[in-house]
Symmetry: C2
Subunit: 272 residues, 2 copies
Amino acid sequence: MDTPPPQSEAKPFAPVPAPIQRPDGIKHIIAVISGKGGVGKSTVSANIAASFAILGNTVGLFDADLTGHSQSMLFDTHTSIESMLKKHEPADCCGVKVASFGFLYPDAKTVIWRGPMISNGIKALFGQTNWGELDYLIVDLPPGTSDAQLTVIRDIPIDGGIVVTTPDPLAASVAERGLVMLSELNKKILGVVENMSAGVCQACGDALRPFGSGAGKKLAEKYGVAFFGTVPLSLELHDAVESRKPVVLKYPDSPASKSFFQITDALKKSLP
Amino acid sequence: MDTPPPQSEAKPFAPVPAPIQRPDGIKHIIAVISGKGGVGKSTVSANIAASFAILGNTVGLFDADLTGHSQSMLFDTHTSIESMLKKHEPADCCGVKVASFGFLYPDAKTVIWRGPMISNGIKALFGQTNWGELDYLIVDLPPGTSDAQLTVIRDIPIDGGIVVTTPDPLAASVAERGLVMLSELNKKILGVVENMSAGVCQACGDALRPFGSGAGKKLAEKYGVAFFGTVPLSLELHDAVESRKPVVLKYPDSPASKSFFQITDALKKSLP
């Protein structure tokens, strides 16, 4: 336990006192959380942020997953990495201001950090970023209920959280732990999103439900919180990721994009 | 950082000195790892373990994901929870000896623990379990490259690890961090498994690839390690999870089961 882990090229940040003061210019800070990994938190975060931008809002996206960071790969933004590194400016990604560990340490693919370094890193990256004026800041969390989540929920002034699950009941019961964590720490559960819901076979149009259906709505009902909607499995979503654009920008008329616009609208209405 | 998080009903284990001695009766200990969540580490772990059992081996399955535990839900084993709690006996699940945090604290759905408690909990649950004689012990890891992974890789005497990814290149580039972590800590990368690969539309038989194809094989080639095979997306897999049985037991003739048998065979041949 006392031997330091290998550090790759990444250097830890200087210690940051908790908690972080809310930057004056940010109106709403929304966490995207799940106890379960791989349910699509990053995809949902990126597309809600891009939807808000399309609607004319100023938007930021903070990738709080330091070991599993992916936001720097979801947007095509090679031009602004330098300014993120030197001037603490978030990258401008299709109108979304993105701060991700992937930008800060582009060569350090694998960062092996223990909890305290992760907690400090989250606070440092959030606090040192020059967010400017924002209507909405979306915070993309890693899976689980440990250090990173405690840090975001307690030390960053979030207004509440969105819980993401797949339609599978087992996945939802693990995703649920993120919802319970928000609740135990007295943060508002804004709503639930079900990702990887029924898609459509490209060949015959038949409905595809490899992960079942309905667990997201049931989870929302169980806790009496809003159900923001489902996002269908679709090739457009996969293709958009490949081309480094949120699907709402790449294929705005696709079923997945329509879902994200509806979810963003529901989220907007749930905020004070 | 100093305020203790809410504890739900779960109590921390007594401190365990690192590292854990290898229990005499266990021949092979294999970690199932990925930097990415939701790629199917738990499903792959459960089905490899069950496949080994079907082949006549004595097998254990250690769920090292304390906050995201799911193995207690993947098997139908209500009968043996008591003995796990009182006598430190793993649950007998269709011939697989399973130890999971879900058995130990069945009422504590959400455990909010910082890294040191998670590390200690992993060592305690592993070390206090009476594994007996085992040909193979599979260790199911949480996603990421932080405390839990450091503990399993350094403090538990694993022989090597299997890396799980989906066919999506972005997912694979995050999954890759688990592979790099094994390598940096001088553990053998036994092979790569690609889960959620091409499935088949139940209506028309057309191939479905909502997550693309090929990233698993490419990842294995990049590092010159074995590619154990693909597991197709299938309704049988989802249905087996719903009925709390590994698909290799519930639908042994399904395409997913055939994949798991092949993967298990490849894994077996990769071990000394």
